[in-house]
């Protein structure tokens, strides 16, 4: 039909909803996530996240691995904070075996997990900047992250898949002069926060793009089971490190930052504040580092008694839980991972509705998902 004919027939007046695929190959989905968007013009009327592109079946693989071997697999869930994954698996198995790791191991675990939280939030900070259109913060964030990875490399031998926190303790004690290096990193890191604020936090364009966007109300957050910085961004003060302390977190003084409105800005702000709190925790843990053993006595072949257990920790992305059943064998009978990213992602279908297409990436980025953990 020529343009005239269309006009005469009035065909141009018929409007249709449009389906738009965001991903699975999209630079801003932070991995292989597909979001099916239903659009009315520029406004989103429905959004459906589709997951599973990175599924590796680790819960099933666990049934064929011994308890220590599973640690290696746990590194690959949330690869930006592998220490947390190691920790939660160890806590679960220790609960089954009723082992208590020595005090020093607790401190080392806290140090590693908190450093990893900083590293993970730095990735968020950098990539969120890119999502909004600011490239420079990314380079700054990765410079600092590199320093943390260097520290991890010295302590565990790897940069991403640490396999450092072990059942009953940790892999090995800190290398000589590591504490000094860690302290100088923390000093360096403290001076960087004002720079981050100048680069991104205080930028009015960034604030305009994030404030009032992707609002998650408290009721919605609880209904969807959202945890971590996303929940605290909505103003709910819930942090497992405070509410159900593990690894002697009750000894450390730190605040739990909470947002007010539950928009992208609040979720961003909470993470920036959390990095500052983590620096404080690591400092306290280094100050109070006890002497002594780093490992409890663990039998060479682990056969936990028949039973089931649930262990959970506050990972950088929310509460990460492990449910495992033992049938008194050296391999778990069943493992389930409560992955915070996966559950946080479900809120996307709620908060995207009514937004403009241009805000989708800002909203998705603010949830801070890791697809390795979403799909497992």
């Amino acid at each position: 039909m020529t343009t005239e004919v269309i006009k005469i027939k009035g065909a141009d007046l018929q409007t249709e909803e449009m389906i738009l695929n965001l991903g699975p190959q999209h630079p801003s989905t932070h991995g292989v996530l597909r979001v099916i968007l239903k659009l009315d013009g520029e406004v989103i009327i429905a959004a459906e996240p589709e997951v599973g592109y990175l599924h590796r079946g680790t819960e099933k693989l666990a049934e064929n691995r011994t308890y220590p071997q599973m640690l290696v697999i746990s590194d690959r869930w949330d690869y930006l904070s592998a220490m947390s994954n190691n920790l939660v698996w160890c806590l679960a198995v220790e609960k089954l075996l009723q082992i208590k790791p020595p005090e020093k191991a607790d401190h080392l675990r806290v140090i590693m997990v908190e450093l990893n939280r900083i590293a993970s939030h730095l990735v968020f900070f950098g990539t969120y900047g890119i999502d909004i259109g600011a490239y420079t913060p990314f380079l700054h964030a990765f410079r600092e992250r590199e320093k943390i990875l260097d520290l991890f490399e010295e302590v565990s031998g790897a940069r991403m898949t640490y396999n450092y926190i072990r059942i009953g303790g940790v892999m090995a004690d800190l290398p000589a002069d590591w504490v000094g290096k860690c302290r100088s990193f923390l000093e360096w890191m403290k001076d960087r926060f004002p720079e981050y604020d100048t680069l991104l936090t205080g930028n009015p364009i960034f604030q305009d793009r994030t404030k009032g966007i992707g609002v998650l109300s408290q009721a919605q957050a609880i209904t969807y089971g959202v945890t971590g910085p996303n929940l605290r961004g909505s103003g709910i003060n819930f942090d497992l490190r405070k509410d159900e302390p593990y690894c002697s977190y009750e000894k450390f003084k730190f605040d739990v930052p909470t947002g007010a409105n539950g928009d992208c800005w609040d979720r961003y702000w909470v993470r920036i504040q959390e990095m500052k709190e983590s620096v404080k925790i690591v400092e306290q843990a280094l100050d109070g580092l006890p002497a002594g053993e780093t490992n409890a006595k663990v039998p060479r072949i682990l056969r936990p008694p028949m039973g089931e257990t649930y262990a959970q920790i506050e990972a950088p992305r929310g509460s990460l839980g492990i449910y495992t059943i033992s049938d008194a064998n050296d391999k778990p009978y069943r493992v389930h991972v409560r992955a915070p990213s996966f559950i946080n992602l479900t809120m996307l279908q709620e908060i995207l509705v009514g937004q403009k297409v241009s805000d989708v990436v800002a909203t998705l980025g603010s949830i801070d998902i890791v697809l390795g953990e979403v799909d497992r």
Partner: protein
């Protein structure tokens, strides 16, 4: 109207402040290591490629059992005269395509003082074919 201009002013001021941070970093030493030309020394505990000592290995199979991805295979040496299994290997093979570089095999290995299978500091390890990833050590 006034709001419009104050907005422009605020944004430009914030941009300039941001640029100032970038500008300050421009004159500090570079953080990037120019990889093929410069190389960092890996730390002591670095988990690089695995090396194997075919003479000290006792063919005890502990590393095979410890490995989470079953990438180690070995065949113990059998004395042809007595038909008895000796504490030596015939061959030992690691499939580096499957290896996680996790150190579980090294930790399980009982040989002292040096572990028969252990991580080296090597990290430049590229193959063009999957078959090459099966590295085999044969004891003559």
């Amino acid at each position: 109207m006034i709001g419009y201009f104050t907005n422009i002013y605020k944004v430009s001021a914030a941009l300039l402040e941001g640029m100032w941070v970038t500008f300050k970093w421009m004159f500090r030493p570079s953080m990037t290591v120019q990889y093929p030309h410069e190389k960092l020394t890996p730390p002591e505990r670095f988990r690089g490629t695995l090396v194997f000592d075919k003479d000290s290995c006792t063919a005890c199979n502990l590393c095979v059992k410890a490995c989470p991805t079953a990438c180690i295979t070995l065949e113990p040496y059998v004395d042809p005269a007595t038909n008895k299994r000796l504490a030596k290997i015939n061959w030992y093979q690691i499939d580096f395509g499957k290896c996680n570089y996790c150190r579980l095999c090294e930790e399980a290995c009982p040989t002292k003082p040096v572990k028969s299978v252990r991580h080296s500091h090597g990290y430049e390890w590229a193959m063009t074919d999957r078959k090459e990833m099966n590295v085999k050590w044969v004891r003559p």
